[in-house]
Subunit: 204 residues, 2 copies
DNA sequence: GCGTGACTTGAACGATCACTCAAGGAAAGG
DNA sequence: CCTTTCCTTGAGTGATCGTTCAAGTCACGC
């Protein structure tokens, strides 16, 4: 089944990869054109400008969160807490696979684009929110094992923080163990929370 | 005392500010020149090229870690655990002061420079290591309040992770509370560690 | 006064950037 | 066969990038 790809789709796929590996500013339109084997006219027929390609990429990440990231990561993993660490393991795998050169595409773009357009900044925020909401769902599913008054939204954000900070340090040091230690600390955090919940259950 | 600044120093100071606010790639030599009121010849007399300005900036951050960042943040704060959170509060202050537009200069550069020169990458790593080593010193000074077998290096890295992840999310959402929640989670983590240490003291 | 080295001047260079557009298919409906 | 519409072609635009360099200025030892 040789799928004939839409011009827009071809561009978005190529741009996703290029923005991920080189960043937005360092990726030129010429890079996208040579990757897709298109001419500039075709690209500018499909998109008004470079920033609109970025917007399409971010929308694609947003829409692909479950089908492309979470569902594969959670396949065969039923326990909600395990799912959180399965997702982190997915990122670990990406780090190893790319020899610590790639990171989280959203995080990289978020720190690269300093004076971002409101639409772009909002899409970055939406991507983060989608991710943390998914973690929050896991935390709610595991609510019986966690302390009663726990701020689940804050903890979900903390999971994202651990992932982003770990990826950043692993990439800078070219060493996955910097990611692993962060995940290990988060594991400890969860263990302590669950131990606390087990010690005095059902209290507000 | 009107100090006449060295050309190199003037350039480094201007570049620190520009790289911080706009990033490395988005800062042009022309930006640095107009900021310093110098001509291109003077800059290229002081530095072989743009990347060498970046290297000087990173060396400046490395050398300024204690005098410019830690000592001011720790002034009047004796308790080692309080010092950790005083430092995080310093970053919080920067976020608020810049209306969530600036972040950690090292973290931003680390994620912006995807295919960084080895010298640059190493200087980024050195800056991270200097920071975490300082936190580690605090943890060692508070060792009596912490669990015996605690991996202090890992926890120190986790503090950096919390800071970087919090800054990233605060900047993306244009809202400091994303930073605050991360610091709150870390506070909980410390509280749980100290409670565990108090429960069963002096055990390995 | 004069030579010498350190530093500055700023126009100019080639490369590359995002982007444009007149011209040219290709397919479909009439 | 013609028209219309959609899409592609690719040379070309002006702007901006990092960088160069011949010429000029300046302080200082002789």
């Amino acid at each position: 089944m040789k799928t004939e790809l839409d011009t827009r789709t071809k561009i978005v796929l190529a741009a996703m990869d290029l923005f991920w590996s080189k960043g937005y500013n360092s990726t030129s339109i010429a890079d996208i054109l040579s990757r897709t084997q298109l001419n500039s006219g075709s690209l500018y027929h499909a998109f008004p400008g470079k920033q609109d390609v970025l917007i399409a990429v971010l929308e694609s990440y947003r829409d692909g969160l479950y089908p492309m990231l979470l569902e594969p990561a959670w396949e065969g993993v039923g326990d909600p807490v395990d799912r959180i660490f399965a997702l982190l393991d997915r990122y670990r795998w990406l780090i190893v696979e790319t020899e610590c050169t790639y990171g989280c595409p959203i995080g990289s773009l978020a720190l690269e684009l300093h004076e971002a357009d409101p639409v772009v900044r909002n899409l970055l925020a939406v991507n983060f929110t989608g991710w943390t909401k998914a973690i929050e769902t896991c935390l709610e599913a595991a609510a019986d094992r966690l302390p009663a008054g726990l701020d689940k939204a804050a903890l979900a954000q903390f999971v994202l923080t651990t992932m982003e900070g770990g990826v950043m340090q692993a990439r800078t040091h070219l060493d996955v163990t910097y990611f692993d230690r962060g995940v290990g600390m988060l594991r400890d955090h969860f263990d302590m929370l669950m131990a606390r919940a087990a010690r005095k259950p059902e209290t507000a």
